[in-house]
Amino acid sequence: MINFGYKRNESATLDLDVDNSELYKKLLKEEPSAATCISCGTCASTCSTGQFTDFNLRKIMLLCKRGDTQSLEPIINRCMLCGKCQFACPKGLNTRHIVLILNKHLHAGKIS
């Protein structure tokens, strides 16, 4: 392969024709409540970690659902798992479990 000094930009499109739903399917299997998120943002605004970083569970779940899992990997383990979002969530999602499952799958085999 030749290096021309530039590379094709990765597409910024959420391409739902490409099946990237593997992680989301795993998530649903292990925590079915993830399917009932209404993206209200309560979790993101009450988040303890969100005070310090741009950690945003609503967005994370949405991106996971849309198959954009790459961007989740570096941020998912920032969660302090304090559970505040779980108490605030109007739909009763097991938010901590969701974070743990995503963390597990995104970092499978990369344990330090």
Partner: protein
């Protein structure tokens, strides 16, 4: 002469009573409060036309023309089938023997204290939509300290679409009410900044979208898609809101002088006592279960017991009145057969 007991003298009860009494039936209108009119009597103006609630209610009462026997301060203690009729015992041991029971018990407003993180009953400048209507009625929309609000926010879906309080359902009217109230606030205080924290704006009915359009184009009401997660109070007793602007994808902080919680509709407590006595069933949302969702939504599963109004789920005022008229005509047909 056939007799009907209508339980609940809200607008559905009043409308059904006036229709049925006009058709020559004996109507007992049972009301637990000392006055009739239900929730509408608490309201100042109504969406989408900004008509005064009092005028609408007075029209309905005028229509009723004292033909029905209104039993104030009365609650159903006991009721049961007796031959083909129903025996009802009211508070004060008053006995009624009727051919038909029409349930118009309506709804209860969600008790905002149950969402503790929103601070109702804890912070002095957190009120509900009902409180705000009272303020409108008294022409005194002010913060606790007596000053008009310079910034005000409405929180949609308080007690609605919330599994945690057992209400998965949408209360249907709060979005429109919030937009109506937002416009009214701007009418009253043009310089007041108004925010609506919504999840989905459900402007489903006729003229609603116009109202929303007006709120945006005429009053510059701010709409933020995000649910309030928690409210706090600062030193000046302003309410500090934490939410996420889900469209911007960022947490959002907002300090307001007055916070209005759009409390939703819940199944009525009174109705629950009727259930066991009359063999009525509640759906998972707590509201009464009708015989068929499409074709028989005024019928209960018990012969001779009919439904009208919000006891079968959240409805707007026009919907409630239409439902009451439908129920009245069905009751009439039932009594004639």
């Amino acid at each position: 002469m056939k007799s009907i007991a209508i339980i609940g003298a809200g607008i559905a009860g009043i409308e059904a009573a006036s229709r049925l009494s006009k058709q020559g039936h004996k109507v007992y209108l049972i009301e637990k409060n000392p006055e009739i009119g239900g929730h509408v009597a608490q309201w100042d103006r109504l969406f989408p036309s900004q008509e005064e609630a009092e005028i609408v209610l007075n029209d309905l009462i005028k229509n009723l023309n004292n033909r029905a026997e209104v039993l104030f301060n009365s609650e159903v203690q006991h009721c049961g089938k007796k031959d083909r009729q129903f025996e009802i015992i009211l508070t004060g041991n008053k006995n009624l023997l009727v051919d038909v029971i029409l349930v118009t018990t309506g709804f209860d407003t969600f008790r905002a204290q149950r969402k503790e993180e929103y601070g109702y009953g804890i912070y002095e400048n957190v009120i509900t939509s009902t409180d705000l209507e009272q303020m409108f009625k008294k022409h005194n929309v002010v913060c606790k300290n007596g000053n008009p609000p310079k910034r005000l926010a409405f929180v949609h879906c308080v007690g609605s679409r919330d599994e945690k309080v057992g209400n998965r359902h949408c209360s249907k009217v709060c979005c429109a009410t919030a937009v109506k109230q937002a416009c009214e606030i701007k009418e009253l205080y043009p310089d007041c900044e108004v925010f609506n924290l919504y999840m989905d704006l459900r402007m489903f009915d006729r003229h609603f979208e116009d109202m929303y359009h007006e709120a945006q184009s005429k009053y510059y009401v701010n709409f933020i898609r995000g649910r309030l997660s928690e409210a706090g109070e600062n030193k000046d007793h302003q309410v500090v809101l934490k939410t996420e602007d889900t469209l911007a994808g960022k947490p959002l902080k907002l300090t307001v002088d007055l916070l209005v919680l759009m409390t939703g509709m819940e199944a009525c407590d009174t109705q629950k006592t009727l259930n066991t006595k009359l063999g009525l069933r509640s759906d998972t949302d707590g509201f009464l279960s009708t015989k068929d969702v499409f074709t028989q939504n005024n019928f209960s599963n018990t012969d001779g017991v009919f439904f009208a109004g919000t006891c079968t789920g959240p409805k707007t005022i026009p919907e409630t009145l239409a439902d009451a008229r439908a129920a009245a005509s069905l009751v009439n047909a039932y009594l004639m057969s």
